[in-house]
Each structure stands twice: as structure tokens, then as C-alpha cells.
Amino acid sequence: MSTTRMSLGAAVGAGLRRALERDRKVVIMGEDVGRLGGVFRVTDTLQKDFGDNRVIDTPLAESGIIGAAFGMALRGYRPVCEIQFDGFVYPAFDQIVSQVAKIHYRTEGKVTAPLTIRIPYGGGIGAVEHHSESPEAYFVHTAGLRVVTPSNPGDAFHMIQQSIASDDPVVFFEPKRRYWDTAEFDVDAAPDLPLHSARVLREGSDATIVTYGSVVPTALSAAAIAEQEGNSLEVIDLRSLSPIDFPTVERSVRKTGRLVVAHEASTFLGLGAEVAARISERCFYQLEAPVLRVGGFDIPYPPAKLERHHLPDADRLLDAVDRSLAA
């Protein structure tokens, strides 16, 4: 046992370090990932320790980063690309959805593209435009990509390594306002869950909250408040957005009869819509109330001083829980 306390950002870095140590085909690529250690310092010291052939500062070109990494993957490498911020992935969108995602299908399984694409995402850090977006729905809508997001340091540490080990391309979303959250975990223990399993973080009997990434701690504090009011909430962290671990969600909903899905991304056609639809199909007779969604509004991410209105907080989650319980 070697239990360590680490922030989520440092845990991603520690996971990357393990992956670099274990497999010489793992390379890290991105803007400012080398000397600077990334603008969030996630890759801090990696270039110093592994050299600039393994930790590669690239030109300022997102399409270039993903397209070149794809080429390296064709040559047997396992590139881990960093996109500096969510809003800058769009120049690379074509490479990701048209090329990377489709190669396995196109070649009838003869070619894999084991890329991991790390994207710090989401708001709540008071940033300027294009630095706070939640673009996950664009990627989960694309067949061929796996999409995951950890919400705590322990998961971050294991999930980044599991993503790198995946023979499918993985879009790895890092909830940037949780980068500085710390937790203790065992860096030598094997991961306790496969990459695509959801985690029941808190058991409850009156309603289920399903969420992921940055909203997980919000949901946990909502559940703590609800408990004082006499309501028992179950909280599920999806962790994987494609595929989604529906059996875990279904089990919970069969028990509680009520479901609220929460995320930062805009509600219309967001992840919550898919979860609501599937659960309504599969648990219709166990549901005591319609599945409710709490998400961002259907607006461009607002200026920093207004972002707290856009981001679901514990009060908005509890309001939805109340509506569900009242139904």
C-alpha cells in the first residue's frame, strides 16, 4: 500500500508518468506540454524526465496535433494529445470525427488508432470566452470514439492509464474546476473498476442523481443537504459517457423510482437527454416521476461574472429533486 494525497491534475500527471514508464510507445504531444508542463501543469516535469522525443511540444495547431498523432498511431505509437482548452478542440474536430474515429471501421478492423485526447473542459474558473465549454455531446455522438471523464483524483489516475491502454481512441475530458481537488488513493492498487463502469458514490432510496465530471461534488453536497431534510439520494458518477453504463443506472432507478440527470453542458440534446430517454424506455413502470434534467442553458457559455447562473449548483439540483418527489 502506498496511499498518497494528490490533486486531480497531479493524478492525471502521475498516471501519464506511469504510462510513459510502462510502454515506450506512449508519447505525449501538445502545446506547451513540455518545458512549461502545460498551462495547468498536468505534464509538469515529464519532458525533463522522459526527453523531448517522448513529451513533444508541438506547433500551435490542433488539427496538426491530432492528425500527426493519428499518423504516429498508424506507426504503432500510443499518442496522448493535449488540447489546451475545450474551445480549441474544434480546429481538430475534423481529424477526430472523420479520421480517428472511423479508421477501425473503414479498415474492417485491420487498423487501430489508440489515441488518447485529453481536454480540460467546463467552466467555473472565471475564464474568458472559449475556455469553459462542455463539448462532450459532439464526441459521444460520433461512433468509434470512447469518451470518459473522471471526477476525482483516484479515478483520474487510473482512468488515464486505462484510456492509454485502450485500442480505441478515447476522448478524455478533465473537469478543470476540479483540478485542484485533492484526495487520498493507493497508487499501487489495481483500478477497482473497468474504464466504462459507472460508480455509485452514495447509496440512497428516494431518488437518483446521475451526473459526471465537475458536477459530481455538487451532487454529493446536494445529497448531504437532502439528507438533513429527510430525503435519501443515490448519487451515480457515470465516469464513461460513451459507452454509458446503463445497467448501473437502471438498478438504481428500479430502487428509487426517480431520476435527475445533471451536467454543465447545455440541456438540449445533451447527455442527459440520452440518459432520460433510455431510462424512460427501460424503467417506465418503475418510474414514479418523469426523468428530469438539470443542465446549462441553451446559450453560448456566458461571461464569467454570469457563469454561476449557467452552472447547475446544489440548489438547482435539489429543486429538481423536490419536483421529482412531488410528482
Binding site: 502545446e31 506547451d32 513540455g34 518545458r35 512549461l36 508542463g37 498551462v39 511540444d57 508541438t58 506547433p59 500551435l60 495547431a61 488539427s63 496538426g64 474551445g87 480549441f88 474544434y90 480546429p91 472565471g126 475564464a127 474568458v128 470566452e129 472559449h130 475556455h131 438540449f268 442553458f297 441553451d298 446559450i299 453560448p300 456566458p302 461571461p303 464569467a304 461574472k305 454570469l306 457563469e307 447562473h309 449557467h310 440548489d315 438547482r316 429543486d319
Partner: protein, 365 residues
Amino acid sequence: MVDKIAYPVQLLQPDGRRVLRPEYTNLVRDIGPDELRALYEDLVVTRRIDVEATALQRQGELGLWAPMLGQEAAQVGSARALRPDDYAFVSYREHAVAYCRGVDPAEMTRMWRGTAHSGWDPHAVKVTNPAIVVGSQGLHATGYAMGAHLDGAEIATIAYFGDGATSQGDIAEALGFSMSFNAPVVFFCQNNQWAISEPVHLQSPVPIAQRAAGYGMPAVRVDGNDVLAVLAVTRQATQRAREGSGPTFIEAITYRMGPHTTSDDPTRYRSSAETAEWKARDPIDRMHRLLDWEGLLDGAFLTRVRTTADEIAARLRSGAVGAPTPPPLSVFDHVYASEHPLLEEERAEYAAYLAAVTDTEEALS
């Protein structure tokens, strides 16, 4: 111009003495004592704007700021070459361009404070709101210039971007488009040597301006810390644009003296010796020395410049400090130009939610 690419145009040496290059000095023949003093004032005022905003960020009034310290001459020289009808497409660092175009200092910090995504009406001052997605503005400038060309308007469009931006597909595509359509656009690259932590040679092994040659575009390199030289080459390029001779690429060689933004720590990636070397080429010191050589500095003038800088800084400060946060429901404004039922529904729901929360809070207090 193409063959001059290896020799950056310079009209002022770092010690303030003039350089005689008739081809370029002719372009600034009208810059007499008053105009020189006005340029000096612009440099001082814009540095003051930058220093004031940086201080405001440190005091917690702004969420972020991208300092332009050291790049004043590149920005002032190029912006003062523009005519009122020309249109400037800028990135997040062009505070001096904004100032020269007439953006109200009280509005300059809105985006950085986080109360708005824009800050000013771009059409009113003919300068865009800052482009955050690196390189995107190069194509916008090209399209605007194409429109102006089709309209037969005799104006120039100018796109400002950094050395890092030249690695973006958008800039490459802009160079291609503008040549295909002979668009009256000037590509103004401020090569400040760094793209956050990445040195310019990571973006290009050859001088940035050489990239233009592959598109058949004339290019010129200029000492970006020499306000007169920048004025001259930008006048030449905008003139070419206005008379229908197509695009020009300018590489202004300068240096970002401060951090990339107020969140950045440049000591992690560059040496203090390098910064010191560039300090000796400071654009304001250089102008100061020239004015001194030419007997144009006197106490009254310097006091006037300082007073102007103080006034503008005060205006910027009062515009930023305590600038109100817009009301919550304003997040639903302007998403679409006409009504949208989904948003109307969300607005109504959120208004009801806020009212209920307020009622509860009042009941509890």
C-alpha cells in the same frame, strides 16, 4: 519587397538615431515634429493602459489580462497607418490598436472582467472584438477584404496575429484565399518570439515572413520596436491594398516583455538574459532618444503626455472597478436575432426559479 525579407526595415536605431533608407523614409516624410510627438504620446499612453490593466488584474478587478508590454511600437505604428474606413481584425493582445482606433478606455476591460464577451461595437470603431481562438481572425479579415474589393471600396483590411498563429490552418488558408481573390488585406504578424512557452523556431525554421513567398505574396520584415519603420511599411502595404494590388505580409519583429497572460509564469521557459537584451531595444526609450536628439523634448510636452496618460488610465480604471455584473436573465439575450421558443421557455423557468429562491431567502431572513 520580397528580396528585402532578410533585412528588417529599420528607420530608428535603438540609440534613437535615424537610419537612412529612402525607400521607406519617403513613406513617412510627412511625420514632422508634431507627428513624432504624437506617436511618442501614443506609445506612452498605451503602455500606461497596459500597466494599469495589469495592476487591475493583480488587484482582483479583472479576471485576466494579456499584457502587450514591449509591443507598443508594432501596434501604434501599424494602427496609425490606417485610415478611418480601414478595418482591423485583432487578437486578445492588441490593446494599443484598439486605443488608436478610438475604443473608449472605459470599455476596454469588459471582456477581461468577465461582464461581457465583447466590450465595444466593432462596426463603430472598425476594430473587431478580440479573437481568442488563435488565427481565426485571419480568415475573417480576408473575407471582409473580399467584400470590400467586390464593393469597389478603396479601403484596406488588416489582420493582427502572433507568430504562433502562423502554425494554424486558418492563417495558411487565409494566405491562400487572399491571393486567390486578390483581397485588399494586410497580414500583420507580431513576432514577439513566444507562443506562451513555445519559441518561434518551433513554429517555423525560417523567418515567419518567408511563409508568404509560397503563396506568391509579397512580404516584408520590420523592426517592430521602431514605430517609424512600422508606420512606413504598413502605409506601403495598406496603399497596395487600397489600389488593388492585393495582400501583403508584414512580420514585425518584437518581444513580449511580460507574461503571456497574467496567469502565466515566463520564468519557467525563458531566461532573464533574453528579456534584458530586449529591454535595451525598448520602443519607448528609442522614441524618447530620437525626440531628444531632435530637440523636441521639453518639460511642458512631457507633462502634457503624462497628464493624458493619467487621464486615460483613470478612465480605464473607473470603467473597470466596480463595473456592474449584468442581471442574471441577460444570459438569454442576443443568443438569436429573433425569438426562439426554447430560450423563451428557459428564460421564464429560470425567472420563476430565481423568484422562488429570493422568496425563500427573504422568508428565512
